[in-house]
């Protein structure tokens, strides 16, 4: 590999990091409130909103069912509205966030739902309001599960970001496709894959360590 290739690899890595990093933060900030709402508005929950619960559930399922590459194209008008462009890293961040948010919301919902009902009851019994229950019971008690779920989301986003090349966003996945698939440059492709594997391993390691620390209490 030429030094130029190393430079390209490094830039692709930074592109992936930006795309996944920004989208992951959006997914986290948007996914948790959605998951909290889904759990609280479920039948017998603290919020009585069965219709909103069903609508939100259907919308989330809709986004989850759409393949990312289709979403990427279908969202182009919206992407232009938000970022003013339909190409480049920022153009990929919009569909990536929109695809990751429902994914993470569902995973977070499962963790939140597993918080024992007795704890919520105990919190009510000591005079907690809904907000207190979310803040002091649901989120802290589900934290290990939320972190585990967030790790899964980030890893799957690294995979999805490979398709961002379709809007000229670049990144590691795009580089692997262009050099490995279109130019038969196996060396570059293998190098990219090594970097991807290392990235995924590091993300997974950080997530697992955090979960283990929390569970050890």
């Amino acid at each position: 590999m030429t030094p130029q290739m190393y430079d390209r690899l490094w830039h692709a890595f930074l592109d992936t990091l930006t795309m996944v990093g920004v989208s992951a933060i959006v997914a986290l900030l948007a996914g948790i409130p959605l998951a909290v709402f889904l759990v609280l508005s479920a039948p017998g929950g603290l919020i009585h909103a069965p219709r909103a619960n069903r609508v939100l559930g259907a919308v989330i399922n809709g986004f989850r069912a759409t393949p990312f590459i289709v979403l990427l194209v279908a969202l182009l008008p919206f992407t232009r509205l938000v970022t003013g462009t339909t190409i480049g890293v920022w153009a990929a961040i919009v569909p990536l966030s929109i695809s990751a948010t429902p994914f993470f919301a569902r995973i977070a919902e499962v963790s939140l739902r597993e918080v024992e009902h007795g704890l919520i009851e105990a919190a009510q019994a000591i005079g907690c309001r809904r907000w207190h229950i979310i803040r002091h019971v649901l989120l802290p008690e589900a934290l290990p599960g939320l972190i585990g779920g967030f790790t899964i989301t980030v890893v799957s986003m690294i995979g999805a970001s490979a398709m961002a090349g379709a809007v000229g966003a670049g990144g590691l996945g795009d580089m692997a496709i262009r050099y490995g698939y279109q130019r038969f440059d196996t060396t570059v492709m293998l190098a990219v894959i090594v970097v991807l594997i290392a990235t995924v391993c590091i993300v997974q390691f950080i997530g697992d360590t955090a979960v283990r620390r929390l569970r050890a209490r």
């Binding site: 024992e116 007795g118 704890l119 009851e121 105990a122 919190a123 009510q124 019994a125 000591i126 005079g127 907690c128 309001r129 207190h132 002091h136 019971v137 802290p140 008690e141 934290l143 929390l214 209490r217």
Partner: protein, 385 residues
Amino acid sequence: MSAALFDAADDVTRVVGVTSRSAEESAPSSAGRPAAVAAGSIRFQKVEKTYLSSAGPVRALTDITIDVPAGSVFGIIGRSGAGKSSLLRTVNRLERPTGGQVLVDGEDISAFNEDQLVALRRRVGMIFQHFNLLSAKTVFGNVALPLVVAGVPAQEVRTRVAEVLKLVGLEGKENTYPSRLSGGQKQRVGIARALVSRPEILLCDEATSALDPETTLSILSLLKDINRRLGLTIVLITHEMSVIREICDHVLVLEAGRIAETGRVWEVFGNPRHEATRALLKPLDRGLPDDLTERLTSLWNGEPATALVEFTYTGAGGLQPDLARLLAVLGDGTRIIQSNLDRIQSHVSGRLIVASPARADLQHLIANPELAHAARIIGYDAADV
């Protein structure tokens, strides 16, 4: 409640139903509530609860009308599914009755809005069978939570948490996480969390059912101590009669969502009227050994034999097993074979079984109201028992 409550002298003697709480009735904290009602009293009025399930409506509680006196330890017992938990949860409205009223300090809580409900729940503490402690918070964090969400200043939170942790005997455990505590310690944290808001009522939901017998006793004596020192009303539910016997003043037996019987503990224990009560009392009652029961004959053939006589005491009227009197009636050779007597709230109740030489007029002799509330000949044994 004033802070002085926590320092209330240990030697406050408690007469059932009249407690140190009565001195608090005129305290400013009870302002705004009906003046004639003591702080910590609960009144259930025709309470009904029907759950809607997929199999149709299920009736959990029917026509429950009873008063829980302020400052008392009130036990609710019943088999599983009798509705104990539902009834207990109507007091802090974790459960909303579908009919009737629950009055706390004379106020009907069914009409409460969210703010009133939060205020009520700060006056009514609750502890649970499985403790329900937050695993992500330390002992301090758990106990402080009721104050933190109530907006109490941090400095006061620290003093009050330290105060209750001392009361429950958990000083120095502030920074421990619940997973590192034993069952008994966890329940103490639960009690501390319930008491830190200085409630006037403490609800105990099977608080000792997950604990071993020794820990159960220590938690019960802590509850008794709290009741005596802080004068708060304790309502507890259990399926173990021994818990009722240990600390309760009054008992309510629930059966299939209805009141089976109710009264002072000694009355119900000494003279259980309902089949459900008898069934629940069974574990406390040691019967005669089987080999002996099998040997007994119900009729006496006139040969020299031993008669087994059972005297029953209900605790009523201060009548107690008077040995001199028993001996005077039964004569020489009379021995105590088994005794199941218990002294509850200064009333002696239970059974006393004696062996005495068989005689023709025995039945007549023992039918004497001065000896016991009831007496019967269990049977005769040709051999010596």
